[in-house]
Symmetry: C2
Subunit: 212 residues, 2 copies
């Protein structure tokens, strides 16, 4: 089959579908149809069918999708057939919360390094890891074969951390610092923006939106 370009909006929904399918699997459902996936995912069935069609033809019309093979298929597409190696840069309250997040492992993510600039934090044991000096970032990235970096340093430090990560070969960054990172082409950044999420909620609260 010819290579298909999966639209970014579809990519954004794939983790959600995967989560729904894992849920279906734990409830011992061998097959799900697009209506059921849509219900769990809070979208509509046509959207589900369209999104999944980008990944190939593997549902059966009138029956649905085999749950286990769709999980395998989505995992492969998301590059989760083995754990992704994640470094958390910045061991403040947020970095610490993320490091302790139980949901990473079951979603294909493995935190392999935690770094900070604060001498008071360097050397702290966190689970099987030790907080390492951000000065040795390049060495840690290489040693641990880090694939994804999570930036949880203060805003003022985020760009220089990103520059060093990119120079060290990192091509995927999740940024929690409230600053827009400049990265070269080929490096993917996802920006966490909690205040922005709350603003979106605010929009929905606001009657002004219907009085344009």
């Amino acid at each position: 089959m010819a290579p298909a370009k999966v639209p970014p909006t579809t990519v954004q929904r794939l983790p959600l579908y995967l989560r729904c399918l894992v849920q279906a699997s734990t409830h011992h459902m061998p097959v799900v149809n697009s209506v059921q996936i849509a219900e769990m995912a809070g979208t509509n069935a046509a959207q589900v069918r369209k999104d999944l069609s980008y990944l190939g033809e593997f549902g059966t019309r009138g029956i649905g999708y085999d749950v286990d093979s769709l999980i395998a298929h989505l995992s492969r597409h998301l590059g989760l057939t083995e754990h992704r190696r994640v470094a958390i840069v910045g061991y403040g309250r947020l970095g610490s919360a993320l490091q302790g997040y139980q949901g990473f492992a079951e979603r294909g993510m493995r935190v392999v390094a935690v770094l900070d600039a604060d001498p008071a934090k360097i050397g702290i044991a966190v689970d099987a890891l030790t907080v390492e000096d951000i000065e040795s970032l390049e060495a840690v990235v290489a040693r641990e074969r880090v694939e994804i970096a999570v930036i949880t340093v203060p805003a003022a430090a985020a760009q220089s951390v990103a520059d060093r990560l990119v120079a060290a070969g990192i091509r995927a960054i999740m940024n929690f610092a409230p600053v827009a990172l400049r990265v070269p082409e080929g490096v993917e950044v996802r920006q966490a923006d909690v205040a922005g999420e709350l603003q979106i909620l605010s929009f929905h609260l606001h009657p002004e939106r219907t009085r344009v």
Copy 2:
């Protein structure tokens, strides 16, 4: 003018535009055009023009948008002309990180209450607030006129917290617990999903995506 329905994908970009415009304003730019906004926001100019057109006609062709009036316009649309009153339910590491986040105030959000179930945490002073007993959630929501609730309790407790928030009149919830909340129609939930964000990054790392 007839009421216009703003598409959800546009709503999602409005906080980003607002942030870019505030940035332009701090750089003393009185006017910006759609190309400049697009550059700052990492999107394209046609998208910017289309998104902003849903909010009414106020750019000048060939010149651009008056920064201050567009900020005012977007803020009004996002319901940010006065601060939104936010409660954080769950004062663990994540709740604590969010409570301490400096960026809320400048983005129109004001944390007015922090709650937890742990007797060891209840009574702790956090800035001008005190961690309050989750048992008194309904009273706190009413007293503080909370508009947006942020759920940072463990997954097992999230649904019951959400039920109580909804019963207390809350219509906007940001959920950080890794569980899909069931809420009645008219209540807006935004689901934070860090593992999902990392999976999206993983997709971009993965060569499989071009070999569908």
